[in-house]
Amino acid sequence: MSPLLSGAILATLACYAIAMALAVVRLLRGPGAEDRVLALDFLYVNGMLTILVLGIRYASDMYFEAALLIALAGFVSSAALAKFLLRGEVIE
């Protein structure tokens, strides 16, 4: 791996870290519960992207499965939280 690509990967991971920090700002400050759910969903997407980029960095297939699991868990948790906000319970 050339210094060009490892530098690009480092810059990308720094971008994700800054984006996650900004999402945490919204998560802590958000006026309503729905803002916090939105920020949590964004955090999930960024975590998944971070793991995919680490999979490129270390040229390993294990990271792909972890990213797939995180994408699924993010969908299920965000949908459950939105359903909770809508109805007051998750499974009726």
Binding site: L22, D35, L38, L49, L52, I56, A59, A82
Partner: protein, 114 residues
């Protein structure tokens, strides 16, 4: 495993990754700075469409170049996101609309005439 990956593939992979990082930062800035909740629902879509597509393309390109054969399994992630993100977004928007109506805030009224 072939160790010598051409430089233009590395440059393309790096450019895709940096573009995805920039999309993610723009989405986060929008998430923090926009005024109302319904405006704030828009920017995360930038990360979950463009960001995910760019990283998946970079991953496909890089692992195909490393193994000198097409390695396509990273397609699964953008397809999964394309199926699940609209569901989450619609549910969250309905929940926010319902809660803001309950709180008596200024949001559009229901369309049904019951």
């Amino acid at each position: 495993m072939n160790a010598a990956v051409p430089l233009w593939i590395e440059a393309l992979v790096g450019a895709l990754l940096v573009a995805s990082g920039i999309a993610s930062i723009v989405a986060a800035v929008g998430l923090v700075r926009l005024q109302s909740f319904f405006m704030r629902m828009h920017p995360p879509a930038l990360a979950s469409t463009f960001g995910v597509w760019a990283v998946a393309l970079a991953s496909i390109l890089w692992s195909s170049a490393l193994e000198s054969r097409p390695v396509l399994h990273a397609w699964v992630i953008p397809i999964l996101m394309a199926i699940t993100v609209p569901v989450t977004t619609a549910l969250l928007a309905r929940a926010a609309l319902f809660r803001k109506r309950q709180a008596g805030m200024d949001v559009p009224p229901p369309l049904s005439r019951s």
